[in-house]
């Protein structure tokens, strides 16, 4: 005999209650005072003794009732170490894992998957319990551990394929946690899926509890129905008649064994078909379709590339958001009295295409507040800066602007505006002897990251005949050094902006760097970095998160909300007004807007994971082996060897029920007995 909850035996202390009552009632029984017991004492005592005996019998009944009730709560059972397949061994904990990734919409796969799940549920025995877990890239428990078949089937019927991709790892982990918590002896997971290879990498580390079995139910079949999927799209921008034009090129793949013939590919803008091209793809082939360029007159143009209807319509649509490219506005401050001083710099900036650079050239005295308000970067090309301009530039940088200082022989900076990353000293002449070179670069910095790879640009070829000796200030970063060890490029973060100090000129007076191939990308990367410019992504993939604060949507102060493709409204602020990121779960266009009617709108295109279009299956046995550590047959054998848990044995024997019923019956007997005693 063993007990599942032996702590309940502490309740045996309750046995003392009737004893105490019995004793105290004897002691504190109603006392009748009487003048003398002279005559009472003469009456034979036998009568009293007989009554006491009857009370003890009553006491025993009460004690027995309490003992049985306490014993019932302790959940006793007869321990049988070898009772593996005894009564109750058939009770199963079944987890039905139903794949609802969008590939399950191929042909009749979803209907067959639901039928298989329904069969698994209908096979449940009376003592079995089951859970329904719907999974795609994540896993949700639709119904947890119940024996009600109707509810299980209803929870499964309510599900539909989502737009997410298949990931077996989360589903198996959820199943493992459900099975681990189950007291039932047999643990079984049924994985119903089309078993796409893209959903299993073998590194998920999901293991079911020991003794569990994983039964794969493959919803596959021949890929004999054509399925064209638009896997990606590329944008090519050009300018024609001062208007920006974009050419969309879509990549379409056919991963079935049936050819796609006579199909069409349509370019839609704002929901209206603009252009339709024929689409023919060989079996397991791909094609690239370029549409005619079109102008981009406004922001957030919703562009959709749509293939014709086929067996898997979900992957036929590819959405993009196209906006006119925004130029990086740069104010180049030059003294103007040195012809050709800015020649190489201006030419380098004029070549910029992605992004474009819009240049405004000013002399120091002509820099207006409007120039600074519109500009993203101010480039001081070896100029003398007075106190007034220095303070205005300080405010400009603190507000988020970027400043690049080319420190030639004429460059000065007022002490009153302390934003320089290094102090300027006298020039060092290297015109005689061996010239200086840039010896060390900080390749981890965004400016020099493009030069990290071999043969991606060599700064050491540039010769410097003179440079300004600078001493880096604290809390600055030296991005490049001359071979003598003195800093060549130093950066400092000031407020929300950055300041970079180049210790030489950007013309040919002190170096031949402008003649080197690295000059142009160096200037471009520096300007892009200082302008904090990021190219807006034309689309994101389902499962990614969109950070509104990192986009133009941050202009909306508070009260932002997201309108999902299905029309749901999601607030993007918590109660504490901290912004939330938006997890993309649906295919289509998300809108992020403010509460006000005229607020700016940000549109995000959310596309399905194209890898899900590849219906090539993985071998289910690989997943079974990885999840259970053995083949299915071994698992079955292991299951048979697993002894019944104490919980299972206790549940099967249900001794507590009999004890409780007997205890309650005894309490009833006690009531009748005591009533009878009180009458006699």
């Amino acid at each position: 005999m063993a007990f599942l909850a032996p702590l309940f035996f502490l309740g045996l202390a309750a046995l003392s209650i009737p004893v105490l009552i019995h004793l105290t009632q004897r002691e504190k029984k109603m006392v009748q005072q009487f003048p003398s017991l002279m005559f009472v004492r003469r009456i034979p005592y036998q009568t009293v003794r007989r009554r006491k005996l009857r009370d003890i019998a009553l006491l025993c009944v009460r004690l027995a009732a309490l003992l049985l009730i306490v014993g019932a709560f302790a959940r006793p059972f007869l321990w049988r170490p070898n009772a593996a397949t005894a009564i109750g061994a058939t009770a199963r904990e079944v987890v039905v894992l139903l794949d609802q990734s969008y590939s399950m919409a191929y042909g009749d796969r979803w209907d067959r998957a639901k039928a298989a799940a329904r069969d698994a549920i209908n096979r449940l025995g009376p003592s079995d319990r089951a859970s329904v877990v719907l999974f795609s890239s994540g896993a949700d428990i639709a119904l947890r551990s119940t024996g009600e078949k109707d509810r299980l089937i209803a929870s499964m019927d309510a599900a539909t394929p989502t737009a997410a991709a298949t990931r077996f790892g989360p589903a198996l982990k959820v199943a493992g946690s459900i099975l681990a918590e189950s007291p039932l002896p047999r643990k079984e997971a049924i994985l119903i899926s089309d078993f796409q290879r893209s959903g299993w990498r073998g590194e998920e580390g999901a293991r079911l509890p020991a003794g569990s079995t994983l039964t794969p139910v493959t919803i596959g079949g021949p890929l004999d129905k054509p399925n064209a999927s638009v896997t990606s799209a590329s944008l090519s921008r050009s300018t024609f008649s001062d208007q920006e034009r974009v050419t969309v090129t879509a990549a379409v793949a056919n991963r079935t064994i049936a050819p796609v013939t006579g199909d069409s590919l349509t370019l839609e803008i704002g929901g209206r078909a603009i252009q339709t091209l024929p689409l023919n793809i060989a079996p397991e082939g791909s094609a690239s379709v370029a549409f005619q360029p079109f102008t981009v007159p406004s922001k957030n143009m919703r562009v959709t590339v749509r293939a014709g209807n086929d067996a898997l319509p979900t992957d036929n649509v590819f959405d993009l958001v196209i906006s006119p490219s925004a130029p990086v506005r740069i104010v180049v401050v030059d003294s103007g009295n040195r012809p050709g001083a800015g020649l190489y710099l201006m030419r380098a900036l004029a070549i910029g295409d992605a992004p474009k650079f819009e240049i405004t050239s000013r002399q120091p005295a002509a820099v207006s507040d409007e120039d600074l308000r519109r500009a993203s970067v101010v480039l001081l090309n070896d100029v003398d800066v007075n106190v007034g301009l220095g303070r205005r530039l300080q405010r400009f940088v603190q507000d988020g602007g970027g400043m690049f200082i080319a420190a030639g022989p004429r460059a000065t900076w007022p002490q009153e505006a302390d934003i320089l990353p290094a102090s300027l000293s006298q020039p060092i002449d290297k015109s005689r002897g061996e010239s200086a070179r840039v010896g060390a670069l900080e390749y981890g910095h965004p400016v020099f990251e493009v030069f990290r790879a071999p043969r991606s640009g060599d700064f050491s070829t540039a010769r410097f005949y003179a440079y300004r000796s600078v001493a880096a200030a604290p809390n600055t970063q030296v991005l490049a050094r001359f071979d003598a060890g003195t800093p060549a490029l130093v950066e400092r973060k000031v407020g929300s902006g950055h300041v970079m100090l180049w210790a030489s000129t950007l013309d040919l007076s002190w170096s031949d760097l402008p003649l080197k191939p690295v000059f142009l990308p160096f200037i471009h990367r520096s300007m892009v970095h200082l302008a904090n410019y990021t190219e807006p992504a034309p689309w994101l993939t389902i499962g990614q998160v969109f950070d509104p604060d990192a986009s133009s949507a941050k202009a909306q102060a508070t009260g932002r909300l997201a309108l999902t493709p299905s029309g749901k409204r999601l607030p993007l602020e918590d109660e504490g007004s901290s912004a939330q990121v938006l997890e993309l779960t649906e295919q289509g266009f998300y809108e992020i807007r403010g509460q006000k009617a005229n607020s700016d709108v940000t549109v995000v295109a959310s596309n399905i994971d194209p890898a899900e279009s590849d219906l090539t299956p993985v071998e289910p046995a690989d997943i079974v082996t990885a999840a259970t550590g053995s083949t299915g047959q071994n698992a079955q054998q292991a299951e048979a060897d697993v002894p019944l848990t104490p919980e299972a044995q206790e549940r099967a024997q249900r001794l507590w029920w009999y004890l409780l019923a007997t205890g309650i019956l005894l309490l009833g007997v006690d009531t009748l007995f005591s009533n009878w005693l009180s009458r006699t």
């Binding site: 005072q33 009487f34 003398s36 017991l37 004492r41 009568t47 009293v48 009554r51 006491k52």
Partner: protein, 291 residues
């Protein structure tokens, strides 16, 4: 009048007067009344007699000196021996045995005071507690003592009665009020010394109704008031045996008192006091006849 109502009247004098006056008014034609007359007999004058008591009319007729003897001179001492042991402090009918006995004592005292007898009072438990000598002037003292009486200690008869017998040197009437929770022989042994001086004894056995019929219903622990001893008792099972035991006890007492020419009356505190007064007066009448 209901004893329980009388018990609620605090003034014993008022109670006794109400009872006795009502009793006398209702019974003034009774033959018992008038036992006390002024003239008793003549006797010859002897030197030393008060010449004021010489019957001059008789001298005129007979020319001999006779002295008048008056009945008043034959008034006896009347004392009540009241048991104030703890067992007397029991009652289930709204009045305790002690209160009943106290009222009865007051009534009897009042009654005999009307007859010009000398009244006294002795209270006792296992010893003499209060002693008021018999006197024609002690009516108020007796009532005051009765008023203060409290039952406090266990009682016994032998020791206090022996002590009392020494005090009652003059012949009189002794009324004993007690519940007599002792064996009949022991009771008689205790009482007997009181008769040695020629006292007339009238015994009232005061009992509560429940002591006679044991009319309890609930099974409970019965506690002896005097000793504190407890016994579990199921009254329904005990009743018949108890009643027979009490009956036998009373019969034994009756038999022994009668054999010793002692008037014995059992008083039920649920009954009016008239019964006790009738008993007293009838006993008194019998004494007079005997005399």
């Amino acid at each position: 009048m209901d004893p329980s109502v009388l018990a609620r009247i605090g003034n014993l004098e008022l109670v006794s007067r109400a009872v006795v006056d009502g009793f006398i008014n209702g019974m003034h034609k009774a033959p018992y009344f008038g036992a006390s007359v002024d003239f008793a007999e003549h006797r010859g004058y002897v030197p030393g007699d008060d010449i004021r008591r010489v019957d001059w009319k008789l001298w005129a007729r007979t020319d001999r000196y006779y002295v008048k003897e008056y009945e008043a001179e034959s008034n006896s001492n009347f004392s009540v021996l009241l048991d104030v042991s703890k067992s007397m402090n029991f009652g289930t009918t709204g009045i305790t045995k002690l209160d009943y006995a106290r009222i009865l004592t007051a009534c009897l005292t009042n009654l005999v005071h009307h007859q010009r007898d000398r009244v006294g009072l002795v209270t006792f438990d296992n010893d003499v507690v209060d002693f008021v000598p018999s006197s024609a002037k002690h009516m108020e003292v007796v009532l005051h003592t009765l008023d203060k009486v409290e039952a406090g200690r266990p009682g016994s008869l032998k020791a206090p009665f022996q002590k009392m017998a020494e005090h009652f040197g003059r012949r009189g009437v002794l009324v004993i009020l007690s519940d007599f929770y002792e064996e009949p022989d022991a009771v008689l042994d205790a009482v007997a010394p009181l008769r040695f001086r020629g006292n007339d004894l009238i015994v009232f056995h005061v009992l509560d109704k429940s002591e006679l019929d044991f009319g309890f219903t609930d099974a409970s622990a019965f506690e002896d008031i005097e000793s504190g001893e407890q016994m579990p008792v199921v009254p329904d099972a005990f009743r018949k045996e108890y009643q027979s035991l009490v009956r036998a006890h009373l019969d034994a007492l009756q038999q022994r008192f009668s054999a010793n020419r002692i008037d014995y009356t059992v008083l039920n505190t649920s009954k009016p006091l008239d019964h006790a007064l009738y008993s007293y007066l009838s006993a008194r009448a019998r004494m007079m006849k005997v005399r």
